[in-house]
Symmetry: C2
Subunit: 240 residues, 2 copies
Amino acid sequence: MPAGKPATPRERARIRTIEDIVRLGREHLALHGAAALSLRAVARDLGVVSSAVYRYVASREELLTLLVIDAYDELGAEVEAAVAARRPADFDGRFRALGSAVRAWALREPARYGLLYGSPVPGYRAPAERTTVPGTRVINALMGILDGACRAGRLTAGDSTAAVVPALAADLGRIRRDMGLTVPDPLVARGALVWTSLFGAVSFEVFGQYGADTFAARDELFAHHLGVLAGIAGLQPPAP
Amino acid sequence: MPAGKPATPRERARIRTIEDIVRLGREHLALHGAAALSLRAVARDLGVVSSAVYRYVASREELLTLLVIDAYDELGAEVEAAVAARRPADFDGRFRALGSAVRAWALREPARYGLLYGSPVPGYRAPAERTTVPGTRVINALMGILDGACRAGRLTAGDSTAAVVPALAADLGRIRRDMGLTVPDPLVARGALVWTSLFGAVSFEVFGQYGADTFAARDELFAHHLGVLAGIAGLQPPAP
DNA sequence: GCCTGTCAAGAGCATTGCTCTCATTTGTTG
DNA sequence: CAACAAATGAGAGCAATGCTCTTGACAGGC
């Protein structure tokens, strides 16, 4: 990418306008939800007629894609910051920080979380080539923690030493190679389970799948879940 | 409820028309997704002008609610049937049947699954008084399995005998009382985790959160996850 | 200083949810 | 059987939406 600072003032004004559009779109998204995102409303807020917005953003889908990338990046940055705030050797603490950061961001930005991890917006498919990189920051961070614990010998195998079936082993092997992991196959599979389970727990809270008043102590419930998930991943709490 | 067969033919024709509307709505939902559901489109398919539909369905939201109930009921019925097909004492098998049934239905009906467990349709809130009963069939079945295993003494406590924090214990106690469970608190909490984790794994598949070609052996991955989750719940595989 | 390319505006098309009025069908009842 | 009343369907209409097209103005680059 050329990137940097495009010399021409036209280009500069252009990217500035796009930034404004994304910012306004983010506000609308957070306020009224993904499917209620209206290009005309953004245009109004921008003080411009609707057709003018199409000079900068090809379509509503394009704006959605920009907002998806924006949200993935914000979530990823917060998660990475939360993880980095813990001692590098405190793998269990790093994992819990990751989970708590995901949940905190999701509860603070439910509509944007729904855009990323909820039902896909009908007729819209996020272009993989633009969203996979920011979309993998969380799972990369998670696997990084597991891999670090494994290299440090702080990963308990538990009863998960049982070999996985060959078809799955092929996938896991490829993943380990692509991500440069040393974690053994069964624990990679468990890492994937922990990953999906974490987002399942968060989604239930954000999307209101728990009944309205089934759980009053949601913070404690989530903390409990995080502890169990840490155990599944093979992470051991810091020595007392 | 009076229910039964309303004598008057007008009422009969009326409920028949509503059934047709729900059926057409279900088709549109499955084909084009939830947010693309259009009352005018189902009116066209029904061979009637759009305003006529409002004689039977108060609003688009109302139709969505009917479709939510319809989907919850279909999913619940399939899950219950799958569970009932296993030997009552085969708790582990029953749990795996439950999980597989959820996944099978979700993969077969992704749009309807998204309506139930995805991001809420913006501006729409399912009325709890009409959807909670059908919406709790899966978790009831799951807790029923755990409770049955507990009563039969086939539930391994594992290392989960540690007491939960008081705030959470209050919630768990209420849940146990409401559902008539004998499972101890920590295992109720684990049941909740297994519940959310199951739907997390299914959602990742249905919503395409796994990369396009990260996992080729998704059936095996899910089976592996189910096995781990069964262990978390305290279920032991049938004696060899 | 002129020209070219970028930009905003406006009109317009097809679509949506929903309401209103009016005519027609239909079931019931005298 | 006929008359009445209720239920039903049709159509027009309103306020939105996404998106396209044409027209005119403005400003950057030679």
